[in-house]
């Protein structure tokens, strides 16, 4: 799966949790998931679980802590898929 495909799927998974639709419309790899997209921090774990299901991967606690932007999520998923 290419990085672009991963990015698109990540955006799909994130969308239902996003409160700031304006930020979602101009989303990039630099977009901060909590600060920019206003995803509830308590719900972030649901995003991670949805990503695990979508990509068939397992994310450790420490790996989740390292994800702050959409690009971080894409990089983590790509590294696991490869």
């Amino acid at each position: 799966m290419s990085q672009t495909e991963v990015f698109e799927k990540v955006v799909q998974v994130l969308s239902p949790y996003v409160k700031n639709q304006t930020a979602l419309a101009r989303l990039s790899g630099e977009t901060h998931i909590l600060d920019d997209l206003k995803v509830n921090s308590a719900r972030f774990v649901d995003v991670v679980l949805a990503l695990e299901d979508e990509f068939g991967i397992a994310v450790a606690d420490e790996e989740m802590d390292s994800v702050t932007t959409v690009g971080d999520a894409v990089s983590l998923i790509c590294s696991k898929l490869s």
Partner: protein
């Protein structure tokens, strides 16, 4: 010197604010028993309605003088930094009062660091108190959907951790607020839980957190059933 603030806080709750705890002696007896016979870290998980819930719960579970002799049993807690630790002086004061201020909604790295410190003090043998819903439930009821995964992470990182679920509610508490009504009478329910999960990583954390919050929701239901 640190334990000496406990009687002061207890006196404020009892004398100044006029609060009462139903069945206080039995609750304290049970907590003392649990403390004496514990075989691992002890984490207290409670519902959250007001800004002084942690003080009320500590007061319900132990007498000031018992806490002076068993200071490790006074639970550490993680209050919202904005409310309780806005200045350096406030931070020093809340630390002495066994609080580790947390910035809710802050970067996950800082939240994780605070929870790691919290986990450390539990591993060292002190009790801890956390609100698994993450904040005061705006509906006034336990919100299972609000379960934060952090509590699951703490429990899973502490082998043998026992979770004491505490449901506390004042007779005049209809919903959440800053302070309970002056002179309110509280009912407190306790249930000991050993949550586990066969899932790994984040999924396991979430699983454990949900078990705890569901237990609190069940205790809430029992609370209202008992009143009818």
């Amino acid at each position: 010197m640190a334990p000496l603030w406990v009687p002061v806080v207890a006196a404020m709750l009892r004398v100044v604010l006029g609060y009462r705890i139903d069945g206080r002696a039995a609750l304290r007896h049970r907590y003392a028993d649990l403390w004496r016979t514990r075989s691992g870290p002890l984490l207290i998980c409670a519902n959250h309605l007001t800004m002084i819930d942690s003080a009320l719960i500590a007061w319900a579970l132990g007498s000031p003088w018992w806490y002076v002799r068993h200071f490790a049993a006074v639970p550490w807690n993680v209050p919202e930094r904005q409310h309780f630790a806005a200045s350096v002086w406030a931070r020093v004061l809340v630390y002495v009062m066994k609080c580790l201020p947390l910035t809710r909604g802050g970067s996950r790295a800082t939240v994780a660091a605070t929870l790691q410190r919290f986990t450390h003090v539990l591993a060292e043998g002190d009790a801890g108190l956390i609100f698994p819903e993450g904040g005061r439930g705006r509906s006034g009821r336990v919100d299972v959907d609000a379960a934060a995964y952090g509590v699951g992470r703490i429990v899973r990182s502490l082998p043998g951790c026992q979770v004491l679920c505490v449901y506390l509610r004042g007779e005049r508490q209809a919903t959440y607020g800053d302070m309970p009504h002056r002179g309110d009478r509280f009912r407190v329910h306790l249930e000991l839980l050993h949550p586990t999960s066969s899932a790994t990583g984040v999924r396991g954390d979430r699983d454990v957190a949900l078990q705890i919050v569901r237990q609190l929701a069940a205790m809430e239901q029992q609370h209202f059933d008992d009143r009818q």
